[in-house]
């Protein structure tokens, strides 16, 4: 079946602009995670959604970052007033549920802030 998909695959934006990154999880997966992979920080957790529960935003690096998940499926990560340090690969993962289930990762969105 279809895996996790993300769009766009690449995004170049100017400093100060807002960007939206999209994630389509595997159908039927109720848990969705966002991670960021950068040269300086490695792979780090950003935010977690589980069903209709309030998201766990504990990994978001600043209030310029936000995410939503509509209808328990598609998720959008928004970065406002982008900075050069936001340049990274943003990875989305989904799992059947939270807890002891493996996470399946999408191919990522490479964000470059110029």
């Amino acid at each position: 079946g279809a895996g996790v998909s993300q769009s766009p695959s690449n995004k170049v934006t100017e400093k100060g602009k807002d960007v939206e990154l999209r994630c389509d999880p595997i159908s039927g997966h109720t848990a969705l995670y966002w991670y960021r992979q950068s040269l300086g920080q490695g792979l780090e957790f950003l935010i977690y959604f589980q069903g209709n529960s309030a998201p766990d935003k504990s990994g978001l690096p600043s209030d310029r970052f936000s995410a939503e998940r509509t209808g328990g499926s598609v998720s959008t990560l928004t970065i406002q007033r982008t900075q050069q340090e936001d340049s990274a690969v943003y990875l989305c993962a989904s799992s059947i549920s939270g807890g002891a289930f493996e996470q399946y990762f999408g191919p990522g969105t490479r964000l470059t802030v110029t």
């Binding site: 848990a31 792979l43 977690y48 996470q103």
Partner: protein, 115 residues
């Protein structure tokens, strides 16, 4: 706070040789442990996982890992490496905290395979 240490940044092995990638973790409760592989420009692919039970777990592509609680380790092994195994390998720890399974990753080990 949970953490993962992968002490080897780069490893080079000859094709056909055995491989062991080290991973040590810190976690306050029973951990969930994972190994992922990432090829250039690709996402993360799960090689194997440990949640509970048998401490020796088998994964895809001939990989296995052993959970050793006393050593806080989860080393990845393969008896005979193939050239196609060249990639970056990440160890990760998670747990059922508040219903979620937020993963903390190590810094990765870059594997080079010499023909």
């Amino acid at each position: 706070a949970q953490s993962v240490t992968q002490p080897d940044i780069h490893i080079t092995v000859s094709e056909g040789a055995s491989l062991e990638l080290r991973c040590n973790y810190s976690y306050g409760a029973t951990p969930y442990l994972f190994w992922y592989v990432q090829s250039p420009g690709q996402g993360l692919q799960l090689l194997l996982k440990y949640f509970s039970g048998d401490t020796l777990v088998q994964g895809i592509k001939g990989f296995e890992a052993e959970f050793k609680r006393s050593q806080s380790s989860f080393n990845l092994r393969k008896p005979s490496v193939h050239w196609s195994d060249a990639a970056e390998y990440f160890c990760a720890v998670g747990g059922n905290t508040g219903g979620g399974n937020k993963l903390t990753f190590g810094t990765g080990t870059q594997l080079k395979v010499e023909l």
